[in-house]
């Protein structure tokens, strides 16, 4: 599992992905942690198959007992089907996930982890002194989804938005946006069902101060590529993939 520190300040952000031992027939996904002095928030914990390498990777940054919070942007198995395993490994953790999907996500196994439902209009999660804004991203692609914005690190974990599928050893950041566009086009046309939802999200996100856009699949966007992505996404007609 590749680990890349993407923010280092009073707290840290680490991106995990590109697992070399991942079975070929499951899609690659990015996981993130927000690490504070005594706590660790795991964003998009991933599928069951990724649990062991992901846990092992997190142990480079935090002990098990300090993994206190999990976040799932939506209900898909590549996002959170490992929940049943985290549930048995963590003795005192909360899962922040959409209220709409609670009854669905619990199918993955959620007995000891406390499910904290996120209302449709979002909320704020506090991990020690770090305040993270939970931004609604409904119909992008899930009918109920959320992204995580850290105003201090200036990182937006943008779930499925900005996703692309890459070869296992690809770099973690976009290097040539014009080349990367073709890796994203079909996914966004096919997976994102609503131009209206897309426009509302872009309007909201343009008001945020963002250094890094961190999607759940593929490469992250930084610097000018953030604006390039928003412009490209704005001009793309979605819901047209078939």
């Amino acid at each position: 599992m590749k680990m890349t520190k993407i923010y280092e300040g009073a707290h840290q952000w680490v991106m995990f992905g590109r697992d070399e031992n991942k079975p070929d027939n499951i899609i690659d996904s990015n996981q993130y942690i927000v690490r504070t002095a005594n706590k660790c928030l795991l964003l998009e914990p991933g599928g069951t198959e990724l649990f062991a390498p992901m846990m092992a990777a997190v142990l480079h940054h935090a002990p098990v007992e300090q993994i206190t919070d999990l976040f799932a942007s939506h209900q898909d198995p590549d996002v959170i089907s490992s929940l049943g395993l985290w549930d048995q490994a963590l003795s005192n953790a909360k899962l922040h996930a959409p209220a709409l999907w609670e009854g669905y996500i619990r199918h993955f196994g959620c007995e000891s982890v406390e499910y904290v439902p996120i209302p449709d209009n979002g909320e704020t999660i506090k991990i020690e002194s770090v305040e993270l804004q939970i931004i609604p991203a409904h119909y992008l692609h899930s009918p109920c989804g959320f992204h995580v914005y850290d105003p201090v690190a200036k990182i937006l974990m943008c779930g499925s938005v900005g996703s692309a599928f890459e070869a296992p050893n690809s770099p973690v950041f976009v290097e040539r946006f014009d080349v990367h566009v073709e890796k994203m086009r079909y996914y966004h046309q096919r997976m994102m069902p609503s131009n209206q939802a897309k426009r509302a999200w872009i309007d909201k996100v343009r008001n945020l101060d963002i250094d890094i856009l961190a999607p759940q699949h593929g490469r992250m966007f930084k610097g000018d590529d953030v604006k390039r992505f928003l412009d490209w996404f704005d001009s793309l007609q979605v819901g047209t993939g078939i």
Binding site: H61, G84, Q88
Partner: protein
């Protein structure tokens, strides 16, 4: 999570109990019906089937008890199925934790995985022990059904003797005896299959 062949067999064994027992339930209800039928014939036959009348009550009682036993066993089998699912999940978690522990070798906080691994191992072993205990108890309950089936066969043999003295009712009462015997046979065979499937998991 890939299921190993022993776990698969365990799932199949537990699921097959419900299937076999639903057939036993149908047959037990048939015995109950045969008893009611026999009672009516014996009543019509009067003195000619005097010896048959108490047998019909006995057959009916036996059928009722079998139905009650099977109903209880079915509830128990469902609990055993849930325990099997739980054991599977616990074992899978333990294996993943061990895998994570190995992959984390050299990680700064690798040692913190030891407690979840030890805890998962304890729970998994508790589940395995509980499964064996419950299987042993279920086998005992299945033995009680077998006992009823054997008793039903003895009754069927007695019924044939009594039927032979029932004059023109001989054929009807013999048919009742035959149906009880056949039903008892079916119950015996089905329950025996359950016992064979489960016996490898019992407490030694």
């Amino acid at each position: 999570m890939i299921m190993n062949s022993q776990t698969k067999s365990q799932f199949i064994a537990v699921a097959s109990i419900t299937s076999e027992l639903s057939a036993v339930m149908v047959v037990a209800k048939e015995i109950s019906l045969a008893a009611a039928n026999a009672k009516a014939i014996a009543f019509r036959a009067g003195d000619k089937a005097k010896g048959f009348q108490p047998i019909t009550d006995f057959i009916n009682e036996l059928a009722k008890e079998t139905i009650e036993l099977v109903t209880n066993i079915n509830v128990y089998a469902l609990l055993l199925y849930r325990l099997t699912v739980n054991e599977y999940r616990r074992t899978a978690a333990y294996n993943r934790f061990e895998q994570a522990g190995k992959l984390a070798t050299g990680a700064r906080y690798a040692d913190s995985m030891q407690e979840p691994i030890a805890h998962a191992r304890t729970i998994m072993q508790d589940c395995q022990r509980q499964f064996k205990r419950d299987v042993t108890q279920l086998l005992g309950q299945l033995e009680a059904v077998m006992h009823h089936a054997r008793a039903a066969r003895v009754i069927a043999a007695n019924s044939r003797i009594e039927a032979s003295q029932a004059g023109e009712y001989l054929q009807s009462l013999q048919a009742v005896a035959e149906s009880v015997d056949k039903a008892a046979h079916t119950i015996h065979d089905n329950v025996q299959r359950c016992r064979i499937a489960l016996s490898i998991y019992r407490n030694s």
